[in-house]
Subunit: 338 residues, 2 copies
């Protein structure tokens, strides 16, 4: 009953589209005076928050925000996109999405395409290839809001929302130790990517803090996929000093590890396995998979909130905020040793 | 060795971006004459196909295609999007994506946003709510290519790529009968949506053709989700005339059915279960799930091909093609009764 009035309520009351309400509130010339009057009156009658009204009046022109992600096929990014959209829609903003497919050339094209499409701002997570960030500077130069999330770049002085990846690696390792495992291996990517390096640092720190040795032979560098997980587990199973638990770089890799361990008659939790990202399948496989919740929903919400805050400011980049989310361990059958 | 030259090869040879090559070939004024000359000469030297060249020269302005889908969170749509992108990129086209989230208002906004962004054409799958299609007619009126896939509308005389959903329902049911099951139930959505109705018709036809009775009590109308699958299976398990196999409306629903059957001590394949869509998790759960491959990759490829064919024509809508793909059964443990 106490729910705040949104522009959806105004649209419904007048039987017009949300887009028309948003445009009427923003004073678009294409909207008739009669409609503008009806919208303003209905907004008052329904106690539509003047803050929202003010921000709607003040903000951009197309009410479209561009979102650039490596791929929508990863559940993590798909969830974030949905939550960005949810957070922006009651303010009359819609989003258009561009995939870089981990290519910096595509990413450059994406920034251009979105700027040509006259978006009011861009929310992006960088491709694995991106080193030079001149294309992102172009957004700042056009005086439009740019927000980076998850995969960010220190060279850009823009707001960011990231996960504490060191803590993610630490928490995964600590969880295994708490469950009674003692010889913990780590399967990660060969690529020198900040978030994966930070996870590895977290893994090493947890072992050191809990007085367990860090064995270089227990760190497997490869790709991240079901097949890579199988290969990694195979290598580890051939060692004299076999691990009794494995931290896998993502849930797909963890799945490959689980498959190989089952094949070898060491079904988890006999050997413990934990992944990252809480992919859809991880709670449904047998044994179901312990993993790290990277809070994509919260990340998406924070991106939307950050954008709405930015557009209220005179100078978008005067007070640049950095939000760091903390990961959470989801303990399931694959690590229930005790 | 015999691989056809693409604009990627030209870009690589000249150490410039694909976008620049595409724009040079299309005669963009912003590209310098020197670059245009280098690109044209390299294209000739590498035997870049003159057909592609001609079509690149003739086609649109922004080299951007809009793709509207209900949600990128469904694996089915995410795969289609990737294959549309793959099919278009060697011709210098990029895509921007808009989600309707199953809302017709959002879909209307999406068409407007993409047209305002000056896309050269739109490839779309409709929201569940869409009945009136005036917003799609706007694309045709602006003389831009519109292609519909999977969820289409008879009122629009545009090219379509769809799955034979009747055949999908038929094949799933026939598979269960061939595996020795005789009392086959069907869990579907209450919504009157063409593709689900067609699957139901296929289910009934298969039973009739194979001399099995169609029992209305064995058709459960609800939602489609893990929880709905659990609810549906619970209802079916309480019947005197219990089914010995269940066709579930999608893989998530099938997963709920599997969970409930395990709980009741009737782990598949004791009671057979088959879903639709071959979601990522379906091959990894235990028992792994039989399902229907709806060929999203092929659907995406056909969309891209259709678009590239359309832009070569004087009149986009003179010869309207309709492509219907046939589904394939993927038999796994959940139906291996024999």
């Amino acid at each position: 009953m106490n729910k705040k009035t949104t522009i959806y309520d105004i649209a419904q009351a007048l039987n017009i589209t949300v887009s028309t309400v948003s445009r009427a509130l923003s004073g678009f010339p294409a909207i008739s005076e009669a409609t503008k009057k009806a919208v303003t009156e209905t907004a008052k009658r329904l106690n539509y928050s003047p803050n929202k009204l003010a921000s709607a009046l003040k903000s951009g022109k197309t009410h479209t925000v561009g979102v650039i992600v490596p791929s929508v096929q990863a559940q993590f990014f798909a969830s974030i996109i949905h939550c960005i959209e949810d957070g922006l829609k009651e303010y009359g903003y819609r989003i258009i999405i561009y995939q870089s497919n981990e290519s910096v050339d595509n990413e450059i094209n994406g920034v251009r395409t979105l700027l040509e499409a006259q978006v009011d701002g861009i929310i992006a997570s960088m491709s694995l290839e991106t080193v030079n960030v001149a294309h992102f500077e172009e957004i700042i130069n056009q005086n439009k809001p740019l927000i980076l999330f998850d995969r960010v770049h220190d060279a850009l002085n823009v707001p960011t929302i990231t996960l504490n990846d060191f803590e993610a690696g630490y928490a995964a390792t600590q969880h295994l130790i708490e469950m009674g495992y003692k010889r913990i291996a780590f399967i990660t990517t060969v690529h020198q990517i900040k978030i994966f390096n930070n996870r590895l640092r977290g893994y090493k720190a947890a072992l050191a803090d809990l007085q367990l040795p860090v064995l270089e032979e227990h760190i497997i560098y490869g790709g991240l996929s079901v097949v890579d997980g199988e290969l990694g587990a195979e290598k580890l199973l051939q060692m004299n000093n076999q691990p009794d638990a494995i931290v896998a770089g993502d849930d797909f890799t963890a799945l490959g590890v689980v498959n190989k361990l089952k094949e070898a008659g060491k079904t988890p939790p006999e050997v413990g396995v934990i992944g990252f990202a809480n992919e859809v399948f991880s709670e449904y496989i047998t044994p179901n998979l312990s993993t790290i919740d990277q809070h994509p929903a919260q990340m998406g919400k924070e991106c939307a909130k950050m954008f709405l805050n930015m557009i209220k400011q005179e100078n978008f980049y005067q007070n640049v905020e950095h939000i760091v989310l903390n990961p959470t361990v989801i303990g399931r059958q694959s690590t229930r040793k005790i």
